[in-house]
């Protein structure tokens, strides 16, 4: 059995990846939102709005936001579920959760629960949530198949999994521009704004190692979901996969 996995373009021991990813996010946590705005020129907000809009979440629903980081999805979900609903923000990384706590407090939200958890072993009962989301987190998970099975397990029947993630750009011209931008400009932004070029080099590399749209769809179906569809955003730079537990 293969005991190594990718960490960006490097091959590392499976058991080391989680620690390496932790190092990246410990390093970027304080500047995470600023860097998202800089790198995507604000577009990440539109991608996230589209995700919320696709969620079918309504008042009273229970939502789990995995790898929720600084909490921007959780804030929007909280508005949708109202006081009768419940939102849990989980992240494997304590530094990111702390940023999320601060951010939600700044928005006056005090009733979102924070849970430090690994997506591969979610500490929740079966059939708990109406919606599970993971935005820009799945590519950092070591065993994605296991994580998808866990997401399936904690969803109720008729529940929706939303995966917002960088994906494969379909247009060749856009792909060239995007490659140039992500391998040459983004790490420099990282150095300038967050004093951390390596973490943003990892970001660019990890995107290229992430499964493409069709592969991720197959993985979701293999995990047990009855239906899975995806929608490309910004030419496939990002894709939103929506999977339904039947």
């Amino acid at each position: 059995m293969d005991k190594t996995t990718h960490f960006g373009f490097k091959q590392v021991d499976v058991e080391k990846k989680q620690g390496l990813v932790k190092g990246v996010f410990d390093s970027v946590a304080g500047k995470y939102d600023l860097m998202n705005d800089v790198m995507s020129m604000g577009t990440h907000r539109l991608w996230k709005n589209y995700t919320i809009s696709s969620s079918n979440v309504s008042e009273g629903d229970h939502v789990l936001d995995i790898a929720g980081g600084t909490g921007d999805l959780a804030i929007k979900f909280r508005k949708k579920v109202g006081e009768s609903g419940k939102v849990i923000l989980s992240d494997i990384n304590g530094s990111m959760l702390n940023e999320g706590r601060k951010n939600l407090l700044n928005h006056g939200i005090i009733d979102v629960d924070f849970v430090q958890a690994n997506a591969e072993s979610l500490p929740f009962e079966d059939n708990t949530f109406d919606c599970v989301s993971i935005a820009f987190g799945l590519r950092n998970v070591t065993n994605k198949d296991v994580a998808l099975q866990q997401m399936y397990r904690v969803l109720k029947k008729g529940g929706t999994l939303l995966i917002l993630e960088f994906s494969k750009v379909e247009n060749e011209m856009l792909k060239k521009i995007y490659d140039l931008y992500s391998f040459n400009v983004i790490p420099k932004f990282g150095e300038f704004f967050a004093n951390d070029e390596d973490s943003y080099q990892y970001l660019a590399e990890s995107i290229r190692k992430h499964p493409d749209q069709e592969t991720l769809k197959s993985m979701a179906l293999d995990a047990g979901f009855g239906f899975c569809e995806y929608h490309n955003l910004t030419g496939g730079i990002v894709a939103l996969h929506k999977a339904i537990k039947t």
Binding site: S53, N56, S58, K156, K157, G158, G159, F227, I244
Partner: protein, 173 residues
């Protein structure tokens, strides 16, 4: 966006009006609007409605085929019996399930004409794009016959799009 708009409107209506749709639970309904090549699957689970484009080869409870006129009429609340009598609709499977879905669509207040015009606008743009690709890729062909073919094809496309080669290609995908 087309499917998402319908899905959101249906679920909003069900939630706001507290409509009980448990009778439709676990149903998968296929709706095919043949003259604009639009296929939608309506999946009802746990009192939620999903509008999806692929059935993942699962069995449907009922398959509805109808033309655009009848599809628009469904959202305007036309009686289901009238549609069946007018032979604008073909139903294979549970008529009861089809009727229940039709009742929901009629209640939804969706501006379906606006959505359909966006959808068909996309198709025409796609067809024009394909035509331009053909022009680019056919420089070696004799100019006269190509222009003649193109003219015929455009005429068919504008007058009877369902008979156009482009439309048939899109349908076979």
């Amino acid at each position: 966006m087309f499917r998402l708009a319908i899905e959101k409107a249906l679920n909003h209506m069900v939630n706001v009006n507290d409509i009980n749709i448990t009778r439709l639970d676990n149903s998968l309904v296929s709706v095919y609007v043949d003259d604009i090549d639009l296929r939608l699957f309506f999946l009802c689970l746990n009192s939620r409605i999903f509008v999806i484009e692929n059935s993942e080869q699962k069995n449907t409870n009922v398959d509805i085929t109808l033309n655009k006129k009848a599809f628009l009429a469904l959202f305007k609340g036309i009686s289901f019996e009238d549609l069946i009598e007018s032979e604008d609709i073909e139903i294979n499977g549970s008529i009861k399930t089809a009727q229940q879905l039709a009742d929901l669509l009629a209640l939804s207040s969706i501006d379906i004409e606006e959505l359909i015009s966006q959808y068909t606008g996309d198709i025409i743009a796609h067809q024009l794009g394909q035509t331009l690709d053909r022009i680019k890729g056919s420089s070696s062909q004799e100019k006269d016959s190509f222009v003649e073919n193109l003219k015929n094809e455009f005429t068919t496309l504008l007058i009877a799009p369902s008979r156009s080669k482009f439309f048939k290609k899109a349908r076979s995908r």
